[in-house]
């Protein structure tokens, strides 16, 4: 079966290109609460608890927690090459921008369609932050 492909415009925050399997979280994410050796979410009450964010294209509303822990959390994942490949968010804040900048993870917002309606966990997503495009391939109809 031919995958369904959608191309969407977005707004670049941190440049670069990343592709991978989508992982969608409807809750804000704190990277400090993931296992720095594996990328598995350790926050017990989180909807992604037990899921692995390593090398995924992460779709989530926004970041949370203090600047020190958030930045260190994503940086630790990046230094083991298990940070997300790219991040698509709805609301940016300074701490998340700094985290993505330091960890060199492409970060975009303002998708022309609601990312939570267009992207599902498991879709293949290509984020070209520099060109301002997100391509979503759905393997399942």
């Amino acid at each position: 079966m031919k995958p369904m492909k959608t191309s969407l415009k977005c707004h670049k925050i941190i440049g670069g290109y990343g592709e991978g399997e989508a992982l969608v979280s409807h809750e804000p994410i704190c990277f400090y609460l993931t296992d720095p050796k594996t990328g598995i979410v350790r926050e017990k009450t989180h909807e992604l608890a037990g899921k692995n964010i390593a090398n995924k294209v992460l779709v989530f509303p926004s970041g949370k927690a203090s600047s020190v822990v958030q930045i260190d959390g994503l940086f630790k994942l990046a230094s083991r090459n298990i940070a997300p490949k790219a991040m698509i968010v709805k609301d940016v804040e300074t701490v998340l921008i700094v985290s993505a900048f330091i960890a060199k993870v492409p970060l975009v917002d303002r998708l022309e369609k609601d990312p939570f309606e267009t992207i599902c966990t498991g879709d293949m997503v290509k984020v070209d932050a520099d060109k301002g495009t997100v391509v979503v391939e759905k393997l399942k109809p």
Binding site: S66, I71, D72, V92, I97, V98, F101
Partner: protein
């Protein structure tokens, strides 16, 4: 974002690799928020932490040969020499702390190693645009001083200090400084401990916003304001607040909301504050040590500790710590407070944060503190939370509880 010719040159590397990196970060932030331009700042405070992410960025700037263009102070890491004489701090962790402190020196920062730099080492002015990270610092300088800062990360504040500018967005724009939530305070606020509980409750309840607090009749003092700020910006993301009549920017509730209606109204009574205290305390077992000074104690608080410890001895099975800035300790030494505390068996330690690996000896212990923030980020196993007087009493008490 529109950049001037000089800013373009900084971004293109004409001023060196370090300046370029700092500019790249500020441009990314400015573009994300649709800032129109960069604006000059008078000073910055980088919430240095001695962690790996912190080390990476400050070394990138230092190795890139750049230096701060405006006064930029630093947050505590820890007094390496002092602790290494006492505890077995892991060598690799100590090396990270040493390199962080050295790199901040190389970029020409003010080596304040204090989380309350706005009291003495780096004081913003009313109406001044600044870039202050650190939980108590951001709301304090916005609300108490009336300077303008966003809720910065250590790195964005440092980048702003390097360039001497920040993108014009968020709280640098007057219309964005209006109140969002109305907080009717019916609780009795006796001292800074009650203000920490109030701060924790407000931050946790509204999460993100600019609270406007009414019902506070006695003007809060410096320590009460510091602790309200530290806590509300830990349990939530509170970059600014109003206490009309007591804070500078709006003298009435109406003015604080800039004519808008509050999104929400909350009432806080003694019951909520007691609940917060119970929620944060993880044990009522006897403490192994007392840890004060999160945020760093002021001279007035150290004087109080000395007064309470005068002529007494800390129990043999306990230790007693007060964290403060080097500047404050000079005065505490001269005033005899340090002497009194040390004579009683306590320690007054500078440059040190409670959330650092130097506290490794207490990993499995019960700590007692007057700081909910300290209990929240603790490097020890279980936390007891109480007002200063009770902490001192527990440390000198004869009987096991």
């Amino acid at each position: 974002m529109h950049l001037t010719r000089e800013e373009e040159q900084m971004l293109n590397g004409k001023f060196g690799a370090g300046t370029q990196k700092a500019m790249e970060l500020l441009v990314a932030i400015g573009d994300a928020y649709d800032a129109e331009k960069m604006i000059p700042i008078g000073r910055a405070h980088a919430a240095s932490s001695g962690q790996e992410g912190d080390l990476y960025f400050v070394e990138l700037l230092a190795d890139g040969g750049t230096r701060c263009r405006v006064p930029t102070s630093t947050n505590p890491v820890y007094d390496i020499e002092y602790f290494h004489g006492m505890f077995d701090v892991p060598k690799d962790e100590a090396e990270v702390a040493r390199r962080v402190m050295e790199a901040y020196e190389r970029v020409g920062a003010i080596l304040s190693w204090s989380c309350v730099p706005y009291l003495s080492e780096n004081i913003p002015l009313y109406g001044e645009h600044v870039a202050f990270s650190e939980s108590s610092a951001t709301p304090y300088v916005n609300s108490v001083v009336g300077a303008y800062t966003n809720r910065e990360a250590a790195q964005s504040a440092l980048a702003a200090g390097i360039i001497g500018k920040t993108p014009e967005y968020g709280l640098h724009i007057r219309e964005n400084r209006k109140g969002t939530n109305l907080i009717d305070v019916r609780a009795s606020l006796r001292d800074e401990f009650d203000y920490t509980l109030l701060g924790y409750y407000v931050g946790k309840t509204i999460g993100y916003g600019i609270p406007v607090l009414t019902g506070i009749s006695r003007p809060p003092n410096t320590e009460e304001l510091i602790n309200f700020c530290a806590m509300s910006n830990t349990s939530g993301a509170i970059s600014m607040f109003y206490m009309p009549g007591h804070t500078v920017e709006a003298s009435t509730v109406k003015e604080a909301f800039q004519g808008d209606t509050p999104k929400e109204k909350i009432t806080v009574t003694d019951t909520e504050l007691t609940e917060v205290c119970e929620e944060l305390q993880t044990t009522d077992e006897k403490a192994d040590f007392v840890q004060l000074g999160c945020p760093h104690y002021t001279l007035k608080q150290i004087a109080k500790v000395a007064e309470l410890l005068e002529g007494k001895k800390v129990r043999r099975d306990m230790s007693f710590w007060v964290c403060t800035s080097a500047t404050t300790k000079v005065l505490a030494d001269k005033s005899g407070y340090t002497g009194t505390i040390e004579k009683a068996g306590g320690h007054v330690v500078v440059d040190t944060c409670i959330d650092e690996p130097c506290w490794i000896a207490y990993k499995q212990k019960v700590g007692m503190t007057d700081s909910p923030k300290g209990a929240y980020y603790r490097r020890f196993k279980e936390a007891r939370l109480a007002r200063l007087q009770d902490c001192v009493e527990a440390a000198v008490g004869e009987k096991r509880r």
